[in-house]
Amino acid sequence: MNHRAQRTRWSCRIAAVAVLQVGLAAAAVAADEPWAERTRALGATETMPSGPLSKDQLEVLTNTGKDLFEAHFTTLDGVGRPEATQAIDPTRRRHPREQVFFRTAGPDAGSCAACHNQPAIGGSGDFVANVFASEGFESADFDSLDPQFSSERGTNHLFGAGLVELLAREMSDELQSIRTRALSEARSSGTTVRLPLEAKGVDFGHVSADPDGSVNLDELDGIDTDLVIRPFTQKGVMTSLRQFTINALNHHHGMQADERFGPRWTGSDDFDGDGKSAEISSADVSALVAWQATLPAPVQLIPAASGWAEAAAQGETSFSDFGCTSCHRPALPLETLSFTDPGPFDQAGTLNDGQVSASAIYDIALLDWAKSLPRDEDDRVLVPLFGDLKRHMMTDNQIDVLGNELLSQRFVDRNIFMTAELWGVGSTQPYGHRNDFTTLDEIILAHGGNGREARDAYAAASESEKSALIAFLKTLVIVP
């Protein structure tokens, strides 16, 4: 090649680069326009909040969190994960996927609010908003609704979720303290020590400790072997709003949070191979958590319709008499309303309080809705969740409709589920973990296993008693 030809070739290359630069510059300008097709709330929280936040600071953060929750993420934000699966552990897809959205294995939603919207943003979802829970490891490319590949799940509402997580943390602390006491007594006495595991009045079986420091896990009931209550999802397998948020962002949107999918744990700044790096910062996650954690708790609201108040009162009595309250506990006491994020029980892959210099503290007591929460004589908040944060077997030999899955999920057998918290149930039909019961009557009658006795009591009741119970349940509503 002579010099002239070489110069010509390089001139062309220079021109190409110049055109490229101009084009990219134009794109960069466009991305900053108000109409740009990207989510402006991403990155709006520049640093992770830490320490106690004032009411005003909390409001700024939660507003950003709400914006993110409502945002329709786009490919410019990082939507899609052509090279990664929906799995909680970062997992490469065997074959890149061309489509951004995919109904079963995901991504399956444009925004969080696309599913969590009943009766308001942050709420539950109708059957159409069901998701498909699969570990996403071996069958990442499944394209079938066959339950051998996935378990279909209704979308839970998030109102009062901050209180739920606080309850779970306090209960986990209690249970682990009992374990520590059993170990201490076993070591000092030289004999096996067996203690009941009870937290906030809920029985989780027994723990046995041997003098050598070993703990027998055979008699645990409704809780994971590490004695951490994982209050979220229908199965009760997610520890925190933070963990669930990171999972969901990846699963449903292909938006990957740095704190799990970033270079520290994957070696890549674009693990999902969509051309976007640093899609969700830890501060973004914090904003989303803050908004969810401060959503108001559902309330009891009795419609003005004639006779409803009387029926609801009778139904509430029956709810107890039938034995429903043995699992759907009307309230659990909560010691503190200080919500720390990151929290204490998450493990690597979700930030916890040992992974940051100082967690942020959101004082839920600052919020207006929290002022009306009932308190007991010890000034503890009585969280009216109608649940026990415990998993139960929901089938038996006769009643097995709630055991209709083929897959266990994260070590939890297919017929075992977390007690559904009934606060807000009047605003969140349809019912059941698959959202496939159209009436409360149907879902009550579907209770087998640990719920069988209460279910039978309900089934044997008079029609007026049943009606009253429904009247009561329908007063448990979400008021955004």
Binding site: D89, E138, S214, N216, D218, T225, W265, A348, G349
Partner: protein, 549 residues
């Protein structure tokens, strides 16, 4: 050309911006642990000293001798007595050891080059084999860190050789372990030391209710062994004996693989069977299985290059033909990475482990000049080769804090304070041993914990209670990691107790165990960051917790 370069650079920047996914793989981005040296404050004061017989050796043994499951230590002293240390570390706290008097005579603990722990008589008290210059000693463990000499009661002669390595395995159907002893130079042979390597020994137990090793087999020829390892190299369920040998002194020697035939004398694998002649200054063997395919890889330390051997897929099934993947994996570690000395390194103890709990296998190599060999590096820091997500190793010894001016020999990689992060003991020649506590990752606000972890202890029952020879398979997501419970390898150093694995971001794991007799267990479902006990025959795993502080 000078006008082109800037344009090329601009083009590269813009094209890189366009093609992020293609260039998304970054350099080493996982955690680099801070390994804080605190031997003195921890109460560890032991140097490995002596004349040229103690240029090699310098090992340690880690085991629990008082039933609290914290790893206690014996550290060889060479010409000085070996010392015992009881672990009194607080969970997650500073390391703390207390010297322990066992009542053994100083003369018995003198001349020790290394030590391996194992429960020879199945009484659930760890015994110790002390490799010595002269008669090897077997110490029978008892309660509360008591030890008594057991050569007579176990009918183990102990010999008169210069012993430098050991490995043990329970051969199928045997009540007691088979023990292989590696010997170095025969100092009494004419022409010593060159070409006068002592044969090695194989101690097989006689049938009976008590250990009886009265008939030792000679493994000839010996090629001046420095590390031995029983290993199931071909996933046959029948481990063979691998020996790494020091070419400094042998003539016509090579690396060795002995085929262990049940009830018959072992036979050396030959070239016709696929074994390829390899001559190195073999100092230590480490085993791992990068891809959990049941066919292990081996790191062989030497002077100069470290070898990293992988079974050659093209050699044919059941042929022990290996190819060296050290270069492609970035694990040659052939010269110092710090200090400016560009002469070749001298590698000793090697051990695979996960120091940063990211699920990627790391490799530690103790380094140090033999004594004052002028052609080899004088400042020769130990290696911490962290496995990257690019499946190569990255040297991080300097960042971690282990690049000291010592002559490393044996080592123990163990979680001494039970916080799930691996600590490190390095025995140094003519220098106090180094004890590094893993503090996690340094940040601008303090130390941050590493990834998730799991530690597993097996209970195989009455025979071989600590399940030597078992394979532990741990599954998280699509990843399977394995660990083999072995006695042997490294450089004159061995350990028993919990087996550690990093789990990265996984919060749960499913464990299966292939017990020593080949039987696979059912899956055990466990949560991360737990000490797990798996007792053969029990439906559920147990957890274990250190004393609360």
């Amino acid at each position: 050309m000078t006008t082109i370069s800037p344009l090329l650079a601009i083009s590269a920047v813009w094209l890189a911006a366009l093609g992020q996914s293609a260039s998304a793989q970054t350099a080493f981005t996982a955690d680099v642990p801070t390994l804080h040296e605190e031997a003195a404050s921890a109460g560890i004061d032991q140097s490995y000293t002596g004349g040229w017989e103690f240029f090699v050796g310098g090992g340690a043994a880690s085991f629990d001798c008082n039933g609290d499951r914290l790893p206690d230590l014996l550290i060889a002293g060479g010409s000085a007595p070996a010392k015992f240390f009881v672990n009194e570390s607080m969970t997650g706290g500073a390391l703390a050891f207390k010297p322990m008097q066992t009542g053994l005579k100083a003369e018995d603990l003198t001349g020790v080059l290394g030590a391996y722990p194992l429960d020879i008589d199945n009484d659930r008290h760890t015994d110790l084999v002390l490799l010595r210059l002269g008669r090897n000693l077997v110490l029978k463990g008892g309660p509360d860190c008591s030890f008594e000499k057991a050569n007579r009661s176990f009918s183990i002669d102990g010999g008169r050789a210069w012993s430098t390595g050991m490995s043990a395995i329970w051969e199928k159907g045997n009540r007691f372990p088979t023990i292989a002893i590696g010997n170095y130079v025969d100092r009494s042979a004419p022409g010593t030391p060159f070409g006068t390597c002592e044969p090695n020994q194989l101690l097989r137990p006689h049938p009976g209710d008590v250990p009886d090793y009265s008939d030792a087999l000679r493994l000839e020829p010996g090629h001046c062994a420095l590390s031995l390892l029983f290993t199931d190299w071909n996933r046959s369920g029948e481990p063979d004996l691998r020996i790494t040998n020091d070419r400094q002194y042998y003539r016509g020697g090579q690396e060795q693989l002995w085929e262990m035939n049940q009830g018959r004398p072992p036979r050396l694998y030959t070239a016709s069977q696929g074994w390829q002649r390899l001559t190195v200054w073999g100092m230590g063997i480490a085993e791992t299985d990068f891809d959990a395919d049941g066919l292990p890889e081996y790191a062989l330390t030497s002077m100069g290059d470290t070898k990293l051997q992988k079974l050659d897929e093209e050699a044919g099934e059941d042929r022990p033909t290996y190819r060296d993947i050290a270069f492609e994996k970035g694990a040659t570690a052939h010269r110092p990475y710090a200090g400016g000395d560009s002469k070749p390194s001298t590698g000793w103890h090697s051990e695979f482990a996960d120091f940063n709990n990211d699920t990627k296998t790391d490799l530690f190599i103790a380094k140090g000049n033999v004594q004052a060999m002028p052609d080899f590096a004088s400042f020769d820091p130990d290696n911490l080769l962290l496995g990257g997500f690019d499946d190569t190793f990255h040297e991080k010894g300097m960042e971690a804090g282990i690049a000291l001016n010592t002559r490393g020999r044996g080592a123990i990689v163990e979680d001494f304070n039970m916080d799930g992060m691996l600590d490190l003991l390095v025995v140094n020649r003519e220098h106090p041993a180094s004890l590094f506590r893993n503090l996690g990752v340094a940040t601008d606000w303090g130390q941050r914990a590493l990834g998730n972890w799991i530690k597993i202890e097996l209970d195989n029952g009455k025979i071989n209670p600590s399940a030597v020879g078992s394979l532990i398979s741990v599954r998280t997501g699509t990843r399977t990691q394995t660990r083999r419970i072995q006695i042997g390898g490294g450089h004159a150093s061995g350990q028993t107790g919990f087996v550690h694995l990093g789990l990265g971001v996984s919060e749960r794991a499913t464990i299966r165990v292939q017990w020593p007799d080949g039987e696979w267990s059912h899956p055990y479902r466990v949560f991360a960051n737990q000490h797990v006990r798996i007792i053969r025959g029990e439906a559920n795993a147990r957890y274990w917790y250190p004393v609360a502080q």
